[in-house]
Symmetry: C2
Subunit: 743 residues, 2 copies
């Protein structure tokens, strides 16, 4: 490893290629720009003592050490010496069991295998009788804990926190904190808006891109410890030897950062790459093929995490193609990886129709259009609830936060709380498939928190989804949370500079779901942009307003799934020509001359019945259903009187307008910002221009279309659409990004 060296370099203005390009994410470590604070920190940290009682520091420990020294040297703009022994005003890094530090009360917390503690100590003695004053100790049971502690400590300094009286104990609440890449082997990224996949399969395993290292480091800095490399719409080729050696190369890079690698398993792989005639999970040959495949993988990657599977959904093969259940399929894979301590994450995002066994004409590879009244909302619950208790111990069922598909606002999936005997994972989406894609500023933490804090009432009041996921409600032995990555090959990783905030917030919440959206926003802003108080305040206000803005200008009052088909870019509430009924916007909004919205009460699809009684009560009555969920559960007359005293139609208009207005307010806030770098300032400004245009587009297209049913005029204070409805219907975007491509 090269020694850390200092090289002065010059940052010119943007045109000279040295500007703030966003690549460094929240790990910039630039010199503290508050001179008083800088002096104080410099006094408090004179040197670092790495209290390694063991002989060979692990790669993880080496990484923690390099990060700490490099980070502090950047932040404090001074050479940080490695102490040979204790001294005052020192940072001490040790493992809890170290014998050298005798007099520190480490407390009785169980830090587990990943937790850490950071404490300020007035005076300590060592075993030789010496003593020093005013040290800070970062301690943990493991090197991974040390690494997380180091990142936490650096975050304190990056965010200008007082480090005089530290007493931080931090242990992750969820075991498996995953990012899921929907990356195809040809480097296209399904629902990716930040360039192409950062995995360059063609050049692996011999070429190790610096990005792989920087990716692992960024994830480790926020506590993420698992990555699914490949798309859930899977290609079986990834399981072939020539690809597995590439996967191994990545696993070797990620391992020291405490990150495990997982792959998606295409259910039909035994046929496609194994040459078998069937993929029936009860077939002994198939079971054996997967066992051998697992052995092969674990020989290359001893800490391989396991498989993520999308089966019998949207055309993917699965056990139902053979008349078997999801449990049969998942258990077969689970048995294959169990000897190696692997897990299987089986997705509950299903909306295939059950195969018609015995029907000779049944084509298992094709989906069947369901009857519209069946309500896609209900399918995951209907298929999985009966299987509770039927899965192996190392199976996790992965459930999207809402019952449909990552809409700007959804009620929580009724599966949460409904499977006490089966570990459930929650799947969130960082990539903004339905939230303005690559160009809208939408801070997602409020959305995540809304779901985590939602009460399932499964075991009475307070049975929040957070408690389901972290296992505390039903004593799950495995706890998992996952999010679909928004990471791509763009220089700043996420295309929109604020996409980074969603990656960051997800990692922080996966570690500790008690953090607030505002708290996370603030620490992200301080690390990523600036610590200047006014700027922090303005940016935070923008972020916290942004999610409600996108709900309002896209899908207010409980509307959902009214975007264009395929690429999902832009509004198309009129669309009714896609292959399946439940791919079409008209299926979801059900606008007609009487009103708008999907009746999911007992009088309608009765999807509400899948919730606990207390939850049903919240939603079932049109007159006290929270208005943000109104059209999720009710078909509401255009003249229905809202709490504002407006009619539904007027309220709908007003909400769309307010979404646009909020974007304009965000623009104003941004335009007045000071103390941030020119390059990103301009980037966000340009993106906000796009966001404003597209918010107007959503408002105009949706209201003009819904007006054909309501037959009511726009409120007098409403901005009039610049174009007629036919114009918006005519817009086509054949090359909108993120729409798959062959995988």
């Amino acid at each position: 490893m090269k020694k850390i060296s200092f090289i002065f370099c010059f940052l010119f203005s943007a045109g000279l290629m040295n500007a703030e390009d966003g690549y460094r994410l929240w790990l910039r470590y630039d010199k503290i720009d508050d001179p008083v604070l800088l002096q104080q920190y410099r006094k408090q940290i004179n040197s670092i003592y790495f209290d390694v009682y063991f002989n060979e520091p692990s790669p993880t420990f080496e990484i923690a050490k390099k990060e700490l020294i490099g980070g502090l040297q950047g932040l404090l703009d001074k050479k940080i010496n490695e102490g040979k022994d204790f001294s005052s005003y020192q940072l001490i890094i040790n493992k809890k069991r170290s014998e050298i530090v005798q007099t520190i009360d480490f407390g009785s917390e169980n830090l587990g295998s990943e937790g850490f503690k950071i404490i300020s100590v007035r005076r300590i003695h060592n075993k030789w009788g010496g003593g020093v004053n005013n040290v800070i100790v970062i301690t943990a049971n493991t090197d991974a804990g040390i690494l997380y502690g180091v990142f936490n400590f650096l975050r304190l300094i990056q965010t200008h926190q007082n480090i005089s009286n530290l007493n931080i104990v931090s242990v992750p609440k969820i075991q498996n904190r995953m990012v899921d890449h929907w990356d195809n082997l040809n480097r296209t990224v399904e629902r990716g808006y930040a360039g192409i996949s950062i995995w360059n399969w063609h050049e692996l395993p011999d070429y190790i891109d610096q990005r792989y290292i920087d990716y692992a480091r960024a994830n480790a800095s926020i506590g993420i410890n698992g990555t699914v490399l490949t798309n859930v719409n899977a290609n079986a080729l990834i399981l072939r030897k020539e690809y597995l050696v590439k996967v191994k190369a990545l696993a070797d890079v990620f391992r020291p950062y405490n990150i495990k690698v997982y792959l998606t398993a295409r259910f039909s792989a035994p046929i496609e790459t194994g040459g078998l005639k069937t993929a029936d999970p009860l077939d002994a040959g198939v079971q054996n093929w997967w066992k051998q495949k697992a052995n092969e993988i674990y020989q290359l990657i001893p800490d391989f995490g396991g498989f993520l599977v999308k089966a019998n959904s949207e055309g993917q093969p699965g056990p139902q193609s053979y008349g078997r259940s999801h449990a049969d399929g998942a258990n077969m894979l689970a048995d294959a990886v169990a000897p190696h301590n692997g897990i299987v994450m089986w997705r509950a995002f299903v909306y295939d129709v059950r195969p018609q066994q015995g029907n000779e004409n049944f084509d298992s590879t094709k989906e069947i259009t369901p009857i519209a009244s069946s309500d896609r909302f209900k399918q995951a619950y209907n298929e999985f609830k009966p299987l509770d208790g039927k899965f192996r111990k190392n199976v996790v069922i992965q459930v999207k936060n809402g019952p449909i598909d990552f809409q700007p606002r959804e009620p929580f999936s009724p599966l949460f709380g409904a499977m006490p005997q089966t570990p459930l994972a929650m799947e969130l989406q960082l990539t903004q498939e339905y939230l303005g894609q690559g160009t809208h500023l939408v801070y997602e933490a409020p959305l995540f928190k809304e779901v985590l804090d939602a009460d399932t009432y499964a075991n009475g009041k307070g049975s929040t989804i957070a408690k389901v996921i972290d296992g505390s409600l039903d004593n799950y032995s495995i706890t998992t949370i996952a999010a679909v990555a928004n990471i791509g090959s763009e220089r700043n990783w996420t295309n929109h500079p604020f996409g980074q905030a969603n990656w960051y917030a997800y990692g922080r919440l996966a570690w500790d779901h008690d953090l607030s959206a505002a708290q996370i926003a603030e620490e992200w802003i301080r690390q990523t942009f600036t610590n200047h108080k006014d700027a922090v305040g303005s940016i935070k206000k923008i972020m916290l307003a942004s999610r409600e803005a996108v709900v309002n200008y896209m899908t207010p009052l409980g509307l959902h799934h009214i975007m264009q088909g395929g690429h999902h870019y832009g509004p198309a509430p009129w669309q009714n020509n896609l292959g399946r009924a439940d791919w079409n916007p008209v299926y979801y909004h059900r606008a007609d001359s009487a009103g708008i919205g999907f009746d999911r009460t007992a009088a309608g699809s009765n999807a509400l019945s899948q919730y606990a009684a207390e939850v049903q009560k919240q939603f079932e009555n049109i007159h006290n259903c929270p208005e943000e969920f109104l059209l999720w559960f009710h078909h509401v007359p255009w003249t229905f009187k809202m709490r504002s005293e407006k009619t539904l139609w007027q309220e709908l208009c007003s909400k769309y307008q307010s979404g646009v207005d909020t974007v304009r307010w965000m623009q104003q806030q941004w335009n007045h910002l000071k103390n941030i770098d020119e390059e990103r300032y301009q980037q966000v400004k340009m993106f906000l221009t796009i966001q404003e245009k597209e918010a107007e587009w959503w408002r105009n297209a949706c209201l003009l279309y819904f007006q054909t049913f309501s037959k009511m005029p726009f409120p007098s204070n409403q901005e009039k659409p610049g174009q007629p409805l036919d114009y918006y219907k005519s817009l086509k975007f054949p090359f909108a990004p993120g729409n798959g491509g062959n995988n």
Copy 2:
């Protein structure tokens, strides 16, 4: 514009995301690391006086100014002041006609619209009688000339040249110095190995990526003044209004850098986007459609450069589909852009068979397999030579350097010198489609020079291709050179750090084809990596050896086109199953029990007859044909005695081995390098490992296959292939990059 500011930053080792990532190309402007030289430069440049007699400096002038100040501040690590008046030890920037500088003899050179002059002046007087000593003047007729002069001056300092007695006059020899992007609208890049297209069409025109600006700057720094944004396998959508406003946004960015924008025109666009029934170039409606389209474009982009067209080649539509000639097609487009001073670059890369007019079953959209004996080598000449003199004045015929397709070594295209009445452009390929793609270190300047220096004998000895292209041989009124870009979204632009050298070398040669490959390599290394003498020497040796290495390990002795079909990655001399005879390697090498090679003498296809008699003489006799072209022109017995006294078979083995050996020598040289940054050092090292593996793969696969014909043993000192032939035949790469995708 923001004021230039100095910010100190720290470069940590690679893991901390601040390393030398290659983004800055050859424009790094880091502080001069030779203290003596630094002192000297600091003394010689105290301030800069921008002698602007005009009132409003143009955007181009502002860019030159910013570049000069920023560059010098970086290189000299001192604040550079802008002088208010003349003073000694000053840099003076002025236009030649400036009245202020009275006493400088600017000489009588015609600097034209892009040339510049840099002179050291002992003493000058101004018109008020004052005088100052030891100034350097950068002067030109135009702001573009000033910009080029500034880049040249900065290059002198970056490469540690003496600036005491400067007298540099530099005028480009070729007018249109183009890079051609084979970029599709979905951002895939045909034959692109550096990520995806840097053009983010989806976010244009509202989002201006910093890369667009940095791209323009990089091109301007080497004198490139035109860019074709879209693939020659064109999509007509680019000509629609919604895309033209995006093109305009790019043109606006590039204009101040003296770079014009061009587009590819899909010949069938009048049908596809215009709703016409035909694209017949003699149809008045079609002619009018193109005229209107040109007007529309020029209204948005007044300095639009024109169209590049691939017609009736590889499935592209063209005039022959209507029984018209290339001249009919080109002239129609030329007439449309002529009122706006646009040009049409019409590609001579054609190998369709002439349409069978009058045959009712003729399907103009399909290609017809030609009879193998027709020899694709001859087709461009056969189609275009008869049309000499039939094109409009603003048509340029763009000819690839060789008759086939950018092979590691080709004889020059016989069209050069054969069309005295038609301006010919030469098309080179920077992206390494056939030269190891994204992972091989191959410096292409020796290849470019080999072609430029080749003598066509068109007007007797000395009728080099350089003279054809720069117009001096036949007095072309338009002169053009083009190269297919190797630029993509990768952080370092070209994937392999040495891909940058090819971009750089092309630009420099396009400006001045008299430069040597070694000279260009040296200046590139000094700017891009280091000025340390030993390192410069080693890297230069590697670069200069690399092109012959790739010839040897892929296609020695005149072999060509024996790579895998489709993606063109790796060897497949056995391939004989592709749709057209002349897509198959067996068509080109013609190995059989008697020997190997393509007989293009009078006894064979007689392609040689397309050259001037003197050139024919060089190649026609198997006994004195230069051996590097032997198998291009002759079918040679396996036992043929080579100049080395070896048999052809032995020589072939030896050449393949020597290609591998050179790569290993390159590795050794690289491994011993000092004084270059760690990140790129490791990158190149990893790539060289891949290059060695693939060189062995080429050698093994080709020799094992050819041995099935020669039936001769490998020489005793030859490394034996690690695998049998069937293994190499079995290798499949479904996701090898660069293979198009829908455009």
